[in-house]
Amino acid sequence: MSNAMPSDTDTQSAVREIAIRDALQEAMTEEMVRDERVFLVGEEVGGYNGAYKCSRGMLDQFGPRRVIDAPIAENGFAGLGVGAAMAGLRPIVEFMTFNFSLVAIDQIINTAAKARLMSAGQLSCPIVFRGAGGAAFQLGAQHANSFDAFYAATPGLIVLAPATPYDMKGLLKSAIRDDNPVVFFESELTYGKRGPVPEGEYLVPIGVADVKREGSDVTLISWSKNVFLTLEAAEALAERGISAEVIDLRTLRPLDAQTVLNSVAKTNRCVIVQEQHEVASYGAYLAHMITSSIFDELDAPVGLVSTLEAPMPYSKALEVVLLPSKQRIIDQVLAVCA
């Protein structure tokens, strides 16, 4: 499957380019039209059309019963969403960014994720928690957290981290229809990113990674906005004669191990690119999964490009040092291919 136009279950015709914020808006709007039980709650989602304009026009279309501006009370409205889901609705809870999910994380991890098991299936919790994760430019330490690993480490949750407008829309629709609680990561820096999204309805399946670029020398794996950085690095590597395959995980939990292992078994080398500190990260787990599954197929240990180990400083002169960069990916690939 190529970067240009993935095609999981789409059955549409025309293709146009839209921004991620609009892809998300379409996903939510279509699902709300389709299913009366779906509603959206979060800060600024209504009158302001979303802090990042991901719900433009939705208050006008659906009214304040289904598009609900919440006060700043993340534990409260996340918990309320969980209760509403248990009572048969299908809430979409927007965190302005996932930095603020930390004050609601108990409701996600201890209530939503565990309700089904604790009740032996009597309770169902079909809820989507969505919002931007990771750093944007110079927002400082408290607004630059990546909690991918926290949620991906939690049994009971589905965790999605798509990159492209196409995947954002298709996966968000799948998330809304899923009967499990879903954590859905977006990125402040890519809401304006445009890409092909067909007019008609389609879904992208949960749990399926996507090969965004084919290659034969090394497998690069990433998710969320760093897929774009990784693709850029792959282009630069091509100029040096290194053919990189790029896998976009799209789903962190459940991991599509097969797609990953097939690729690494072919290339025998792997570099993972993540915007997370290395310790107890998702990428380190992925590296271990690969290594322990196909140890003998690896020509070199799996490489990891991560955020460096400090809270994020504000100054741009420092922020760029901590975050993964094209150069660091290239260096890591060269090391792995040496």
Binding site: F39, G76, L117, A120
Partner: protein, 315 residues
């Protein structure tokens, strides 16, 4: 006073009491694992409150949940089996003492993080309003829960969005070993409602009839006006916080004072006073039989199969 009603409330309270006395015994026999928090002493709150609600109302509480489960009509066999971690339990042994469920009866648990159920219960009620039903939600919490953030956020949203939910603080004067005066600067816990503001009430939780009228009024406010209420029910737990707690932080006298007007005793005497001693003895006997049957059922039930250990994590 309606004699049938008295008999019914007596039966329901006694059923909880006897269920838990047997649970305590099984715990000391090490047949029950984990924590076991007994509701003994507080029965009039759950029984009184739930006796005035509808089938389409939701009920949610904290980890001291056997009483609410039974008062809502939950099966004693399934409850006892749950305590023993059996496949026949009301959560197939996955929940345990703190996490009883009977979702068919809209008994939604049984939750372990203090205060976390407060916004969740608001969500249950929110959903009923959203669907246009006349259902409401009732949410029980301890006096220990009034200082935690989720309590505030839940009440704040309930007030702001006119959510038909009733919050009942079961003030049993202790949060584990901590007496109320160490954690609440006033005697009147319902003043927490003034901040939003929200309707409030205070009730003697040992008086099952007072509880009924108090909850009835709140339920009407919720059902008709879609407005929340915060209620403080003053009550007492006769046992320790959990079976692990010897409760040395209070005297036998303290406990006896509350026991002297024990709601089950009071209603039993009322029945006798009505000249219904025969009926009362019949009830006692029925309950005894039900609970003993529940114990037998639980003991004889199988444990979940090991290969099902990961079941129910996902759909």
């Amino acid at each position: 006073m309606d004699q049938e009603l008295v008999a019914d409330l007596y039966r329901k309270m006694l059923r909880i009491r006897r269920f838990e006395e047997e649970a305590a015994r099984l715990y000391t026999e090490k047949k029950i694992g984990g924590f076991l928090h007994l509701y003994i002493g507080q029965e009039a709150v759950a029984v009184g409150a739930l006796s005035v609600l509808q089938d389409n109302d939701y009920v949610m509480t904290a980890y001291r949940c056997h009483g609410h489960y039974l008062a809502r009509g939950g099966c004693s066999r399934a409850g006892m089996a749950e305590l023993l971690g059996k496949e026949t339990g009301c959560a197939k042994g996955r929940g345990g003492s703190m996490h009883f469920y009977d979702v068919a009866r809209r008994f939604m648990g049984g939750w372990g993080i203090v205060g976390a159920q407060v916004p969740v219960a608001a969500g249950l009620a929110f959903a009923e309003k959203y669907k246009g039903s006349d259902g409401i939600a009732i949410c029980f919490l301890g006096d220990g829960a009034i200082n935690i953030g989720s309590f505030h956020e839940g009440l704040s949203l309930a007030a702001l969005w006119n959510i038909p939910v009733i919050y009942v603080i079961e003030n049993n004067y202790f949060a584990m070993g901590t007496p109320l005066e160490k954690t609440a600067p006033t005697e009147d816990l319902s003043i927490r409602a003034l901040a939003y503001p929200m309707a409030r009430d205070t009730v003697d939780g040992h008086d099952v009839f007072a509880v009924r009228s108090c909850i009835h009024a709140a339920a009407k406010r919720a059902r008709d006006q879609k407005l929340p209420t915060l209620i403080e029910a003053k009550t007492y737990r006769y046992r320790g916080h959990s079976m692990a707690d010897p409760a040395k932080y209070r005297t036998a006298q303290d406990v006896d004072q509350w026991k002297s007007r024990d709601p089950i005793k009071v209603l039993g005497e009322k029945l006798d006073g009505f000249g219904l001693r025969g009926l009362r003895e019949q009830i006692d006997q029925d309950i005894e039989q039900e609970i003993m049957d529940a114990v037998r059922f639980a003991e004889e039930s199988p444990f979940p199969a090991p290969e099902t250990a990961l079941d129910y994590a996902y759909v």
